[in-house]
């Protein structure tokens, strides 16, 4: 848990370091959102070894649940958020059994298909979603009377949400449930022999992962006050996978690191807007070739090796 406290301290200190407030609030909030998404996806991909190329769909379910329920039905934000979680969790649960029976390429294709279907619904069901034009006028989030209507307040909310996601993820992984998930990745055969109901374990982690994404989606909808299908297309799903892979699979902080790195990269690449995907793709290839274990994990291992070498040279 040392890493968690270190991360919490960094999040708390960041606004006081005299960095450009735009950077802290806008980029910081985006990074927090991506961390929640990446950490959730990492539970499924990194730890349990199951790929999802349609994760933006769960992000969208949370976002649209909040957008539709608060604008069209005037639901309170927190209730809409809860509804989004229930909806995303239920869909994930229904999908999990048939979909997670598949392995490798087949699972990738099935989740990809799910993402595409979700995107088509967002575009076509315009009576609900507003279609390609999206849905605006989402009211700010009201947390028991405290209205989140400024960049600083969003930073605080997103910081708390991010820390919550990290805490939950770390707790799950370092537990009986987390070891069962890692066992599924290590050897599904042996996991079953050890008494783990692997179908159930995979279903659970798929649902948890969907809940993380839907949670992020609800926050996103309120923070942007506008949602449209462009925020939840295939490119976003691929970007989420990239965050997990670049940071280092099967490491909660690795996923967080990947999320921060890609957020900063996106910010830095604004000028090259049209080439963003190109650069993402190239980055993914280079990292996979040079540091297949991911930047965060790979650099960590490298530092440890250098440290060990330096220490061993001491007389």
């Amino acid at each position: 848990m040392a890493g968690f406290y270190l991360f919490a301290a960094a999040v708390l200190l960041l606004p006081w370091l005299g960095i450009d407030p735009y950077f802290i609030t806008v980029v910081g909030v985006a990074a927090g959102l991506h961390i929640i998404l990446a950490v959730g996806l990492n539970l499924l991909m990194g730890y349990a070894g199951q790929i999802s190329l349609g994760h933006a769909a769960f992000f969208a379910i949370g976002a649209y649940a909040s957008a539709i329920l608060t604008t069209r039905y005037a639901w309170p934000g927190l209730l809409a958020l809860a509804a989004g979680l229930v909806l995303a969790g239920s869909i994930a649960w229904l999908l999990a059994r048939p979909i997670l029976r598949l392995h490798g390429h087949y699972l990738a294709m099935a989740t990809l298909g799910f993402g595409v279907i979700a995107h088509v619904i967002m575009v076509q069901a315009s009576g609900w979603t507003g279609g390609p034009d999206g849905l605006g006028g989402i009211p700010p989030l009201n947390l028991f009377g405290w209205v989140v209507d400024s960049d600083t307040r969003w930073y605080a909310v997103m910081a708390a949400a991010t820390l919550l996601a990290l805490w939950l993820s770390l707790n799950i992984i370092d537990s009986r449930i987390g070891r069962a998930l890692r066992a599924v990745r290590g050897s599904e055969f042996a996991a079953q022999i050890m008494g783990i109901d692997t179908a159930r374990a995979k279903t659970q982690v798929f649902v948890v992962s969907a809940l993380f994404a839907a949670f992020a989606g609800s926050l996103f909808a309120h923070q942007q006050s506008f949602v449209s299908p462009d925020s939840f297309n295939l490119a976003i799903s691929v970007e989420l996978v990239t965050m997990v892979v670049i940071g280092g699979m099967a490491s909660t902080f690795g996923a967080a690191f990947g999320a921060i790195a890609l957020t900063l990269l996106r910010e830095g690449l604004v000028v090259f807007e049209d080439y963003e995907m190109l650069i993402h793709g190239a980055l993914l290839m280079v990292v996979m070739i040079i540091l297949p274990q991911g930047l965060f994990v790979g650099i960590g291992q490298g530092l440890r090796r250098v440290l060990a070498l330096v220490l061993s040279r001491q007389p």
Binding site: L168, N171, I172, D174, S175, R176, I177, G178, R179, A180, R182, A183, R185, G186, S187, F189, A190, A191, Q192, I193, M194, G195, I196, D197, T198, Q204, V208, A250
Partner: protein
């Protein structure tokens, strides 16, 4: 007849077990009983059906006919995780360690069924979860101590030498506190010293009250520790009895290299 075999009620009763793979009868109606508290070895030439038998016992393949009863309870047709819950644990001929975890975590997975923490409690790290984690860790450390692996507990399972990896598999299976332990060629790939250590370990496990079903090609090891043996050939039971009876059985000798007696000797 071994006197211990008479005294104990059978823990495992296998009857009429049949399994075919595309016309090949891997198991052609196997019957045998494993008395509780013994080391029961299954031997036979390659392709005799030993591995198929093990896979059937742990639920990994579903035989077409027959019955597998553990203490009277039918296991046939149950998924592997339920068979594990009934008290059957196993090791694998080709290692099936969780290479993405430490040695201790591997063994803690072995104790999965002895704990009850659910997803929500784990995510919130409730106080009882912490207490259960401590218990799981202690159980794992007991199994590691029994297998002389304490020094390796923190290491990633993937960096261990081969002989120790095989031991981790045994420790992982023991952490489940099984009633029946299936050991699938535990001596394969071990050197002489490691084989001697293994023999001593298996004897210790029997002493702790666990019934052991052993598939092994290393005849000196089998003959020196098995209380009873089952000899399979072409999916059928060729012979069954104490090591002395088996070693003297002409059909067994014939099945092994067409009569080369030396391969059944204890040395």
């Amino acid at each position: 007849m071994n006197s211990a075999a008479d005294a104990c009620a059978p823990l495992l009763t296998v009857s009429g077990l049949e399994q075919s793979f595309g016309g090949v009868m891997a198991l052609a109606g196997i019957d045998f009983q494993v008395p509780a508290g013994l080391i029961y070895a299954v031997i036979g030439p390659n392709g005799a059906g030993k591995t198929t038998l093990f896979n059937a016992l742990c639920g990994f393949c579903q035989p077409a006919a027959g019955s597998i009863r553990l203490d009277g309870r039918e296991l046939l047709g149950q998924p592997p995780y339920r068979i594990a819950a009934a008290g059957v644990a196993r090791t694998f001929q080709n290692l099936q360690l969780f290479f993405n975890m430490s040695v201790r975590e591997n063994v803690m997975v072995g104790a999965h069924l002895r704990a009850h923490t659910g997803l929500l409690a784990a995510a919130l790290r409730l106080p009882r979860v912490r207490a259960e984690e401590d218990r799981l860790r202690a159980w794992a450390d007991d199994a590691l101590t029994l297998c002389d692996l304490s020094a390796w507990a923190e290491r990633p399972a993937a960096v261990l030498p081969y002989g120790l990896m095989k031991r981790v598999e045994i420790a992982r299976a023991l952490a489940a506190q099984p009633r029946l332990l299936l050991l699938d060629e535990p001596a394969a790939g071990l050197n002489d010293t490691e084989t001697l250590d293994l023999r001593e370990l298996i004897t210790r496990i029997r002493a702790s009250g666990v019934t052991i079903l052993l598939v092994e090609h290393h005849m000196p090891l089998v003959m020196s520790i098995a209380d009873r043996l089952l000899v399979l050939d072409y999916g059928c039971v060729l012979a069954e009895g104490s090591p002395a009876v088996i070693q003297a059985d002409p059909r067994v000798i014939a099945a092994y290299l067409g009569g080369a007696e030396s391969c059944l000797d204890v040395e």
